[in-house]
């Protein structure tokens, strides 16, 4: 970027993000000061039950996602070349691209009371299938998301084991168990804290899945309870108490994760290693095959359910509906704006950080450099729903909360996507800077010339990746719009939730398919733009 003013621009971007979070805190503080008795009184048995459930579901979700993932990753690593392996790994990347809302619907379409599985049970003459709600539904949906992610991450560490170790194992005649014990387990154990931590964090801040699949007070998490206390009970004091608890919880978890050195925005790179080592025995081959098929069913099941249920919906009527048009247009505009804002903020912070790092005179980074680094991941500590809640409470004193919906959706979604955009943009930016800074200084290429001739051509693709990724995230997000949405401002996810609420399940399934296709398309753009760099 233009070198003149890179640092002030970065500071401006950081201030914007800080203001976004700070405004939310201000809202909460004012509310706390106004009604501290109410907030204190809200720390009741119900609230602790909610907190306990939040932790419980996160722990269980992590266990049911990560433990099987070890087995699946090991099975995939033992069979580095079989028909459909790379297609399977591609399929394992699909849940990452799907909005949580769509995944929740897929799980419901498959295992819900009126889902395909219920039909199957009825056809086989069984009892009425009770449907999967509450804790079990949440666990299945979280496993659908996180088991493939964890599998890909573990597979990555298994693929990083040097080939010589496998050759050595073959030479020493190691069977399946010694191989696991001496080679595979140490590799997995090294990445286990990071992977488990990432999954735990994703589950403890999961809003949409719990909202859609959790039922009633028995299966509510803190984030859902914040939403309910603002939208239904209108009890800001309770919302404040819940938010404080949620923040304390995520901060504690995050502090733990940083100590473990976990990478918070991991997106496992596709690994299609074809390296062969000693062939597993026939018993092991059968078991591995079984494990892989089971994982395939878990991942492919909901995806297939989304597609079939979506296709069964009256898509042509949906496509003709003015409300759908409006929601679609609103969604596209807001998510594109959010993505633009996200990419702009990210680039400003990345450029400023690089600038400071390159001209620093001290061995260690300055506090500003650290702040620019940390500002990007601020949003991981402060979940979007908490920011939304803070502003909701703050703004309702001065203005119509619902009129603010577009601004909130754009800004919070932009901030939410920054950590991911940083991953897309920062390596390319820093590498380009290292290659070009001296050359540009030497030739006197600066300012707009530099942007036009050097930076834009080089960074176009990573910026597009960041943009598409941010837009997909924003397009599928239900968190902020659930708080701020109204009849006047509806996004596609909001409309979908409304249809669900009024039991128009077929409509919801159709909308879910549309939403899934849009997000998937954007993710493909992101991957294509990222992959073809240089």
């Amino acid at each position: 970027m233009a070198r003149v003013g890179a640092v002030p621009l970065g500071i401006a971007a950081l201030s914007f993000v800080t203001l976004l979070a700070g405004g939310a805190f201000l809202g909460l503080l004012i509310e706390g000061a106004r009604d501290w008795q109410g907030a204190l009184a809200a720390f009741d048995a119900y609230l602790f039950r909610v907190a306990r459930f939040t932790l419980l579901q996160a722990v269980l979700s992590t266990i049911v996602s990560v433990v099987p993932a070890i087995v699946v990753a090991r099975a995939l690593s033992r069979h580095p070349a079989f028909f459909g392996r790379s297609a399977l790994l591609r399929l394992f990347a699909v849940p990452l691209a799907l909005p949580a809302l769509v995944a929740a619907l897929g799980v419901l379409a498959l295992l819900g009371r009126a889902g395909y599985f219920a039909d199957l049970v009825a056809a086989l003459g069984g009892d009425r299938w009770p449907g999967i709600y509450g804790l079990s539904g949440i666990l299945v949906a979280h496993a659908f998301f996180n088991l493939p992610l964890a599998t890909r991450l573990f597979l990555q560490s298994l693929d990083a084991v040097p080939a010589d170790q496998w050759r050595l194992a073959g030479q020493l005649g190691m069977g399946a168990w010694p191989r696991f014990r001496f080679i595979e387990w140490p590799a997995i154990r090294a990445s286990l804290p990071g992977v488990a931590g990432l999954v735990f964090m994703l589950c403890i801040t999961s809003f949409t899945i719990v909202l859609m699949l959790g039922g009633g007070p028995a299966a509510t998490t803190l984030e859902v309870a914040i939403y309910q206390s603002l939208r239904f009970d209108f009890d800001p004091a309770r919302a404040l108490a819940l938010t404080v608890l949620q923040l304390a919880l995520t901060a504690a978890v995050l502090a733990m994760l940083f100590r473990l050195g976990a990478e918070m925005t991991s997106d496992a790179a596709l690994s299609v290693s074809a390296r062969r080592h000693a062939r597993p025995g026939s018993v092991e081959t059968v078991l591995n095959g079984l494990v892989i098929v089971l994982a395939l069913v878990l991942v492919a099941g909901p995806i297939a359910a989304i597609v079939t249920a979506g296709l069964q919906a009256d898509l042509s009527r949906l496509a003709g509906e003015a409300r759908v048009h409006q929601a679609l247009a609103t969604s596209l505009v807001l998510s594109a704006l959010a993505a633009l804002l996200c990419v702009a903020l990210t680039t400003m912070m990345v450029a400023a950080r690089q600038r400071l790092a390159s001209r620093r005179r001290l061995p260690g980074p300055s506090w500003l450099e650290r702040a620019l680094d940390g500002g990007a991941s601020l949003i991981l500590v402060v979940p979007p729903i908490v920011i939304g809640a803070g502003w909701f409470i703050l703004v309702r004193r001065f203005a119509d909360v619902f009129a603010l919906a577009p601004v909130m959706v754009v800004t919070v979604n932009a901030a939410m996507a920054i950590p991911f955009a940083v991953r897309a943009i920062r390596p390319a930016h820093d590498e380009a800077a290292a290659r070009h800074d001296r050359l540009c200084a030497q030739l006197g290429i600066a300012g707009l010339d530099r942007l036009r001739l050097v930076d834009w051509p080089v960074l176009r693709r990573p910026l597009l990746t960041g943009f598409a990724f941010a837009m997909a995230l924003s397009l599928g997000d239900l968190g902020v719009i659930a708080l701020f949405g109204s009849d006047a401002v509806q996004t596609l996810p909001y409309l979908l939730m409304q249809r669900m609420g009024s039991y128009r399940t077929a409509d919801a399934a159709g909308l879910a398919l549309i939403l899934a296709m849009l997000c998937f398309l954007l993710m493909m753009v992101a991957e294509a733009a990222g992959g073809r760099r240089r």
């Binding site: 050359l439 030739l443 010339d449 001739l453």
Partner: protein
Amino acid sequence: MTGGGNEGSGAGVVLDKVAFSHPGGAPMLFDLSVGAGEILAVMGPSGSGKSTLLSLIAGFETPAAGRILIGGADVTDLPPARRPVSMIFQENNLFAHLDVAANVGLGRSPSLRLTREDREHVSESLTSVGLGDKARRLPRELSGGERQRVALARVLVRNRPVLLLDEAFASLGPALRDQMLDLLKDLQARTRMTVIMVTHDPQDALRISGRTAFIEEGQVREVGDTAAIFSQARSDALRRYLGAGSRGR
């Protein structure tokens, strides 16, 4: 030898007690005078400060104390683009997304707005480095030697009196390196520019340079006639650096 004088198109380079240190590194102090139109080789162990010396002259690093004079004028506070200096690095001399002609053209105008005359100049200089037919190629379609030739062509269109080379040919094979050095010598004979080149191979120095400076631990330890310096190294440090085998290769 004096630093001033603008005879021909070269310009003398003088480092007058230039002090510098990298963050957390040992202090360096350079005193050096290079005559206008001279070719000086700079040698020394890795980490001795050879590249830092060039960076200081080019303006990528700012001295903590002392002055840098080029053609008699104090350039210590000038930004790199405003110094009468061109520099060729070992890698990354070209923008990978721009074709050869554009990469050379940037030496004429940093906004790449070229007049007809500029364009002619670009293609002339490409011809003189032997790349007249490759103006539309992208850098990745060229060999390593050809890429450095493009960088040389840009030096020609920039037409600055001082050229700095930071191991510019180090990654090329021996035959190609000799070709490049001969080309450089030709160009220097035509333009009379002052050349300061960092190299780690005494053969390079012997092939084209009149004098050689030996640097160690951030200081110029020896400067003298290249042939003489290698045949009778005066300091222990230089003897150690050259080793027994490399003398008289």
